[in-house]
Symmetry: C2
Subunit: 500 residues, 2 copies
């Protein structure tokens, strides 16, 4: 890659999606497939400055373009010598790089390629390898099979985003502090590091556990500060969700991310994680249902179908709520406050007209009318600001769940494929392709996969109940406060009119 200044300021890029400029924001409208020239990469906030073929220059979201010369994502750098394995969609998609074929099934394609290879599951079902890595026990809890939950619930704080720069200031990036509740000792990570963690988790656990995508590949803030705040909030949500997962939070790679001691520790840990061979469907080889009887295939299939129906239905429900929430957001921040403002202005205007009457004894009415008008202007502002205080969290939670639910079809797909393989076992035995003993092993292992899926679903359900309880309480609490405050303001406005 080339990093001379000249190169940085004249990079060619392909436009991936249509983007329509907002008037007055110095933005540039671009069309999918268009080639543009990047004129400034140091804008920040997810924006670059670019020039189109007509010579027009303006801002374009970085994520809408693909730099033709292979430049990396918004916070690219070269501090690692092992750049090749450091993630980024382009690489994974190209199918190159050492990690991808390791273990035969590349789990990182989950959540990405609808055509997830179904050749995966039998690698585990028929594997002769002994299991490697930490064992993941599944116990019987009150609700059925459950993961082993730690006594102490890990959490972390993502905070204090700081701008750093490299290459004599030519490149800048944001570094976040991550403070785990265990050590309480902050570690620094850039978005790129989170992305690396995501890749590792997806690769290692993706067949058994839906790993939600990292937040905001998309551009959400119009301004750098807003963008960073939003990204941080979402990274926090993602990290907390990962912390809450007993399997993920106790994994070596996650612990490394949260509490590496120094740069050397981090680099060594990174290399080790990237060499982990118990990835993809092989993760099931580490799962150990403790004292649980083998399930028959009918039961395994029923459970799988039930989860499939539920996650699809919830996916629809969540998307529906998001659509409605979005429309409500628009109304609450657009036409509704505008209308309250106009009502407020109309009252104040009428008050001004009344003042001009020259009639004596008008002051009590005009003062009260002006105050009422101002009250409606205040209400307008309250209405416009309210969604950030309540609807925002409802939307964020549902957005998280949309991401999570989007991973289930692939996770469930692995199980369905395994079930199909077990169903074919008799034929395979008859054809002499596997031994009767292999068939028993396959069935046993499908049962383990099912326990894993059930434990994961139970984890999902308990989190879901917690999350929706919390977010609905928060939403309604803020809504109550909002309407109470409006009532209070109006009560005050009302009291200013003279009783006659």
């Amino acid at each position: 890659m080339c990093f001379t200044y000249a190169c940085l300021v004249s990079t060619q890029a392909q436009v991936l999606y249509d983007f329509t400029a907002e008037p007055g924001n110095n933005e540039l409208s671009v069309r999918e497939g268009e080639t543009i020239t990047i004129t400034n990469q140091t804008i920040g906030g997810g924006w670059i400055e670019a020039k189109n073929s007509r010579g027009e220059v303006g801002l374009v979201p970085e994520d809408y373009i693909e730099v033709s010369n292979g430049a990396e994502d918004d916070e690219w750098d070269e501090e690692w010598d092992d750049v090749k394995s450091s993630g980024g969609y382009a690489e994974s998609e190209a199918g190159e790089g050492g990690a991808i074929n390791r273990g035969g099934a590349h789990a990182s394609s989950l959540c990405r390629f609808p055509g997830f290879s179904k050749s995966g599951p039998e690698l585990y079902l028929l594997s002769k390898q002994p299991a490697k890595g930490t064992k993941l026990p599944v116990y019987t809890g009150e609700v059925g099979p459950v993961w082993a939950y730690p006594d102490y619930q890990l959490d972390c704080v993502v905070a204090d985003p700081k701008k750093g720069s490299k290459m004599y200031g030519l490149k800048s990036y944001i570094e976040y502090q991550v403070i785990p509740t265990t050590t309480n000792k902050p570690v620094n990570h850039r978005y790129k590091h989170f992305d690396w963690l995501y890749e590792r988790l997806l690769e290692k656990f993706g067949s058994a556990i839906p790993i939600p995508s990292l937040p905001d590949k998309q551009v959400t803030g119009r301004f750098e500060e807003e963008f960073i705040k939003m990204r941080m909030e979402r990274l926090q949500g993602w990290m907390s969700r990962m912390c809450r997962h007993p399997v993920i939070s106790s994994s070596e790679v996650f612990q490394l991310f949260l509490s590496y001691k120094d740069e050397k520790d981090w680099k060594m840990g990174k290399r080790k994680a990237e060499k982990d061979e118990t990835v993809g469907v092989m993760v099931f080889s580490t799962i150990e249902p403790e004292g649980l009887p083998d399930l028959d295939m009918i039961e395994v299939e029923q459970k799988c179908e039930q989860f499939n129906r539920f996650t699809r239905a919830m996916d629809d429900g969540v998307k529906d709520l998001l659509t409605i929430g979005n429309e409500h957001w628009k109304r609450c921040t657009g036409p509704l406050p505008k209308e309250y403002q106009r009502i407020g202005k109309a009252f104040q205007n009428l008050s001004s007209v009344f003042i001009s009457s020259g009639y004596e004894g008008e002051a009590a009415l005009t003062d009260a009318l002006t105050a009422a008008g101002k009250t409606y202007e205040e209400i307008a502002q309250m209405v416009a600001e309210q969604p950030k205080k309540d609807l925002h969290f409802l939307m964020e939670t549902n957005n998280e769940y949309k991401g999570l639910l989007g991973c289930f079809p692939d996770t469930i797909g692995v199980h369905k494929a395994a079930i199909e393989k077990v169903k074919e076992a008799d034929k395979l035995v008859a054809a002499g392709k596997i031994t009767p003993s292999d068939k028993i092993t396959m069935s046993k292992r499908a049962s383990i996969m099912s326990y894993s899926l059930q434990a994961e679903m139970n984890h999902f359900h308990s989190n879901r109940i917690y999350d929706y309880n919390r977010v609905m309480q928060q939403y309604l609490e803020q809504q109550v406060k909002f309407y109470e405050m409006i009532a209070e303001k109006l009560r005050h406005a009302h009291s200013q009119f003279t009783t006659m």
Copy 2:
């Protein structure tokens, strides 16, 4: 006129204004100037059934058409032998009929014809006739010139609309009870009678006092019941306003309307009122400023200009508020409750999905989520119904004022014309057209007109302050209740979620 059944069912009518049918309401779109055939006049509620030239049949508002064979308004009948003088726009416009040229200036053209004849005022300014009728004194009050206010404030109740019919049931009408607070004895009146009263008041007082048009010549209700209720409410408002006016409420014709003893009393009173000659600008001849010095023309002109500016500004302010109120009404009864309903449905839908999870310990959340969803559906209904409880009265009051303010340009026009005449007086004297004594009389009389206008403006102002104080209090009180009730409902919904 012809009243056979055959005639009733095949009357031709001209369309006066464009009317666009609402889909699904069995209405017929018509265009101004189109000729239609009335197929059923007994629909009621301000509607007739008609057929157009393409043979399409549907409902059309009665007020949008003019029956070609001279049939009367929606409650036409022939109980009076003096049909010719019983009002109706067509007559006045045609300029025929006995009353019209009586007194030279036909006041009933006020509020109707922008080209109000300016030849009016000098009839009074130069009149040699001695004043007839009750004297109308103007006193000096705290705020300047004021009418003589009675000790007892008259009011009345318009109630109990009853359907009556005539002509063997072929024609039906609505009769209202009017109960004055003085006698407490109900009298019956049909809309037509109110209209007759309006005509008399306009004719007699219109040059000095803005007489607001009778409500709802327009169609307001979609259904007969709603229409009658609305008309009654507005007749009540109109009557109360007339009752509050010291000059109008004490006039013979108004007293007749409120408290005629029997049919004979009513008929005789009617005839007398119709023969009243102190109408139009001649009403000023009965006005007597008591102990008030003559005003010079500069002062008269300044006052007039001030009132003109004020009423125009208030007219703009009121219309502005009505426009905004209308839009707010639409939003509150249309998209906003629909959105709350969709939010409510989305919560309930999510709850149903959760119920289907098969996970134990779900009930507390799903019950609470269902309840929250139902709460938003209830809020949707509250939002949709609220405008009738508050915005309605704010709109009605402003609508009344719009009507009232619409009469001021003509009332003020009479004064402006008088001022112009007085200004020309010197020339007229020089040309020998009037005597120097006439000139003094003219100036004196213009001063009387100004006192009258000032008294009227002060009456207007004091009523305005009362009305806006009252309606704003009512509006805000209902708004407070509304938001408090929403907060209460949401507080209850919130309490149903489990604290974790």
